[in-house]
Structures are given as C-alpha cells and as structure tokens.
Symmetry: C2
DNA sequence: AAGGTTTGTTAAAACGTTTGCACAGCTCAA
DNA sequence: TTGAGCTGTGCAAACGTTTTAACAAACCTT
C-alpha cells in the first residue's frame, strides 16, 4: 500500500505538497506538480478514500433508500430505468451510489441513520413516497441533504422533490378515454398508502367529474404493483352487470396482468374494453395489443433527482425545491376503439 | 456530532472501553457494558464509519461493477432480479452495496482500481463476462476478493464464479424442440463477445449434432439484449425459402421482440413457428402466447454470488471456486405445436 | 533600499476510531 | 505465602489524509 508519505519521500517534498498536487491547489509550482505526478504514476499511488473522508467530512457517495417491499420494485422495468438515470448523473458528478434496503418496517430509520449519522454518505435519494412517511419526516428533521422521487406534504420543507404531475397525468389519461366516447371508466390502482396511487386516483376523479360522468366506486380496484394484481382484478371487474368499457391502470406491469386476465376470460382489447396505463416501459409497445401508456420521463426523473441532490450538497443555490417532470400519453392500440353507445 | 470520546467521558471510562462495548469484546464486564450502552442510547451515538474503516482496513461494502452498455442491462428484468438476490444477502450479512459503472471502455480499469486500491470496498461482484475480459484479468492479478456472475476461462484462478450451465441449458432447450419433431431450428443470439452467447450457441450446436440435424448458419442471428434485435431478426429470418420451424432465443426481452415481429409479419406462434427462450422473466408467461423459457435461478445467482464473496472476504474456507446454479425449462404455449412433416 | 505583497512550501494538528501492550486486582493451586 | 493465570480497564500509537498557520524567498512599488 503506497501512501501519500511514500510519494512525498520519493519526490523530496512534504505530504502536504503531494496532497495539494492531487487536489490541484493553485499555489503549487508547475515543476513540483509535474514531478509529483510522475512519481505518483510510477509508484501507482491511489489515495485512501477512508482517510480522505475522515478529515474532509465528505464521502462523495449518495445512498438510494429502497422502499420496503423491494420485490415489487425490482419486478418493474420502471426501477431499472430510474436507477439508470440516477447512476448516469452521479457518475458524471463523481459520486458513488450506495444501494440500501431495510430488512423490516421498524429498522428503516435505524438503517438510514446508520448511514446518515455515521457520515457514510453525503446525501440520500428516496424512492416511492408513502402518504405519511416516517423516513421522510426523519430526514427532514435531521436536515440531511435528501431528495424524494415522488411527493410529500408541505410540512417537510427541507426535502427536495422530483415528481410528475400525477393528478394531471391521470386526468389526461381519463380525458383521452372520455373524448373517445367512454362513459364507464374504471381504475386499477396501486397500494392506497402511496402518494402516486392517491394522486392518480384524484386526477381520474376530477376528469370524470368534469365530464359529468358517474364514478362507480365498484370500478375502482386497489392492488400491488404486480401482474397478479391486474390479473385478479379482472375476474372481479368483468363479472359486474354494468361493467366499465375502459380501464385506467396504475402501471404497465399491472396492465400486462390485466391484459392476460381479459384474454383468459375471452374478452378482446380494445374491442370489448380499452386500456390506458402509466410508466411506458419498453415492453408496453410489444404487448398484444400494444398498451397505451403515459411516458413519465423515468430516466429524467432519476437524472434530475441526482442532479438536484448534488447541487444541494455542494451548496449551490436551489432555485426550486420541487421539480415536475413532464409526462406524455402515448396512444397505442389498447385504447383505439370507440365504444358502442347504449340504446 | 457525538463521538466515542464523548461517550467515554460521560460514562467515566476510556474510549477503548466504549469501543470494546460496541464490538462486544468478551473481557468487558456486564455492568460497564450496560452503563455504556445506556449512555450511548441517551446521547444518540453513531460510530463514524470512515474512522472505523481507516483503522480496521475494512469497509463492509461490496461493489457491483456494471458492464459498459448499461442501457441493455437495465432494460431487462433479469438485472433487477439479480440485484434483488445480491442485495438480500448482502444486507443480511451486514454489507452495503456500491453500484458503479464506467463511463467508457478505457476507464473501466481505472474506475475499479480507484475502488480497489483506494480501499473503498472489500470485494467486487462482476456481471456479464466478456470472452477476454480485461477487468477480470485485472482483478485476478490484484488478487482482490471478487466473484463473477458468469464464466471465465481457467487462467483466472483467483476469481470465484457463479454461473449456469449454459451449454446444457441451451442443449435442453434445443432437445425440447427436437423431441417435438422440429428439424429446422434457428438461434437468435446475443452479442458474440459475451460468454453466455458463446455457451448457449455451443449447447444449441451440440444438440443439433447429436440429433443428426443440419445447422444452417443462416438460421443463426446475433444481436443485442434488446427487443429491437428480436424484432429485426424476424424480417430477415422469415424471408428465407427454407426457414426454421422453431427458434431458440437468447433472452425473454429479445423474445418479446421476436414475437412482435412475427405478429406484424402475419405469422402465428406456435402454429407457424415455435419459440423457446431464456431467463424466464415475470412477464414471459403474460406474453401472447406465453413464452417457453428457461428459469436460470436469477435471484439465486445473485444471492449465491454475494454469499461466496462474503465468505471469501471473511477468510472462510472456499469449498468450490465455481458454483453452478441449476436451470429448468418452463414449457408454455409458445413451443406447444408439433410441426407438419415435409413430403 | 525599505516595506509590502505574492508565491511556494512545510510542520503539525486534527479527523474518530481500533488494538497491542501494560497493569492492577483478583482467584486459586501448590 | 507465593506466583501463575485470569479479568477488566486504560494508555497511546496507529490508520492516511487535509488544512491552518507560519515562514522563507522572490517580486514589486515607491
């Protein structure tokens, strides 16, 4: 293990000088710098990250806190794309990513405080906000640099957020169906305690209200972000006497399940029922039929989150604490059918 | 920031004693331990990870090196599932995961040596081996604790590996088709420089040879691990006068593309052509038709890799340097059709 | 030519732990 | 009673950096 002292000795300078060469201090003469650099290359010097962190009190590392039921998340392309956005930026900015997950409900705070209070990371990225999220509240109290991908209520002023306008996105999806003449529109939602479910439900509600359409609560089904959820929802939903002619589905993976459920029950999409979904994962357009989905800018969501967090850490001025990534409905076959009006 | 000295002072003991309480040193009396623990809880003490790492020369962190074209990888459910396996074990074993990716071809070694020589991590997990992988060779030379998910040639004795028997897996897939009476079987492969492509190609070759079937090299198409690859392969493959009646596809995501391509060209699966694929991602059974796929134990692959690496780091005896995770062909509709014999 | 500023470098303290060694007090066998 | 062994604790060095303060030498400015 070659240390800064070894380099200093070999170059005939002090360790401080070597340190300053590494960190490009302006007061170092070109000759000294060149000599030291040459010797570092010759001897294969690599600064010890821990020693540096200890004294500089910065780790150049960000943590991603994965939400508890990580199974769901990982099943989703959505997560991979998000991670890719985060990683692309953080690598460019010179930050490493630490991936962490709690083992249980209660040790969530414990896990994050080990990292935060143990000065293991410089900032935290949170995924998937719950309606009353203790983790968010904790980080807000600690005033530790954090960014949430999702939404939090206004009482957490220290937390940056990057999010979609999910109310509007769901409104747009519903409006698309309404404009095609649908009057009975259902909603296959995700877990009720996630803000994303809440917001999309709200947009759905508003669109229906605006169009003067009835919202039959029996047309609203809550589930997980899993295929099974969508699959199971169908057997229930399609048995209803006055069943919907169109469905809004919270996520593409769930929509795959919905599609499969409908196929097995003998229904045809979009002829019997139309479907619009969210997240626009790569496979959506390869489904049979291709699924209409809302592109929420997943990569951008991750990239922006990392970007804002790094800015916050580096003390740059924050123009806006909350950033909205635009969405766009991609219409495909699954919603291309005009329903037959009832007598 | 409350340090070990603060606790020592408050408890009326020396810092060494506090340190020993934290690390459960047997020579500490129960009374002292209890008192120190109480005070730590009261004052909210959290050990500084960097200081600890500096002196103990261990970081309790593993790195995952992502292969260069990370886009492909992230598009794949496969990666998420693998990550879940790794993370589940590493969390249990008390290790954090550092996710890193190189920005270019050349700085791969640089990126990993910063982590390795900078003593930032205790071990490295490598994904997706190339045929002559400089990264693997580097880690082998450094004799740094590493595990490869995939295969390497025998000249890297210091690298642990976890892998499937991909030759056998492809053999089994081909055999399945052959036993159904197929005589013209094609192969949609991945990038040629990945060992996984190489091995599956080999199994495919062996099975055909064993059955006395001709391998038409025009039936073999190389591409990426992307849907487009599968999609594009079809327009080419199906125009051939003596086109195959069955296809083996390197990955489910590619198979989705294949399926879509065939649908657009007006072919029906499995009636016109049968398909068998690999990796068995969750959406495979939701495709139309459900795709026959080889379950390669993705989660297990990741879990085992982490397990072996941690054992190596902790100096436990290694029984076998190379572990094979069993595979299993899941037959679904996409390969359930007996071809009509010619003449 | 004197004083002030700039430039290039060093010495030493600090960061918060762990751990080898020393040692005091105790127990117990001979 | 002696001393060997054990138990519980403290001292101080070490880990490899960064950074403040100090200072010598060189450069201006008048």
């Amino acid at each position: 293990m070659v240390t800064i002292k070894d380099i200093a000795k070999a170059a005939g300078v002090s360790p401080s000088t070597v340190s300053r060469v590494v960190s490009k201090h302006p007061r170092i003469s070109k000759e000294t710098a060149d000599k030291v650099k040459r010797i570092m290359a010759e001897m294969g010097y690599h600064p010890n990250a821990m020693a540096k962190s200890l004294v500089s009190k910065t780790t150049n590392t960000l943590a991603i806190m994965l939400p508890r039921p990580a199974e769901e998340l990982f099943q989703d392309f959505f997560f991979g794309e998000l991670l890719r956005g985060i990683l692309t930026h953080s690598t460019r900015a010179g930050y490493d990513m630490l991936l962490t997950t709690a083992t249980g409900e209660h040790d969530e705070i414990e896990t994050v405080s080990r990292l935060v209070l143990g000065r293991r990371v410089d900032g935290v990225i949170l995924l998937s906000a719950r309606v009353k999220d203790p983790l968010i509240q904790y980080l807000n109290e600690q005033q530790f640099p954090s960014v949430l991908i999702g939404r939090t209520d206004d009482s957490n002023p220290h937390i940056l957020t990057v999010n979609n306008n999910n109310v509007q996105a769901a409104y747009d999806a519903a409006q698309h169906l309404i404009s095609q003449g649908h009057e009975r529109i259902g909603f296959v939602s995700g877990p009720r305690n996630l803000t994303v479910s809440f917001d999309r439900m709200e947009g759905y509600r508003q669109a229906l209200a605006n169009a003067g359409l009835k919202l039959n609560t029996e047309w609203v089904v809550e589930g997980e972000f899993l295929q099974e959820s969508g699959f199971r929802a169908m057997s229930f939903l399609m048995e209803m006497p006055d069943r919907p002619t169109a469905l809004i589905v919270i996520d593409d993976v769930v929509a795959f399940g919905v599609l499969r459920g409908l196929t097995e029950l003998g229904y045809s999409v979009p002829d019997d029922i139309c479907i619009v979904s969210f997240n626009n994962i790569a496979l959506s357009e390869l489904a049979t039929p291709p699924i209409s989905s809302t592109d929420i800018g997943t990569y951008q969501l991750g990239y922006t989150a990392s970007q804002k967090l790094v800015r916050l850490i580096q003390g740059e001025p924050i123009h806006q604490f909350s950033t909205i990534i635009p969405h766009r409905l991609i219409v495909r076959e699954s919603s291309m059918h005009v329903p037959v009006k009832k007598g």
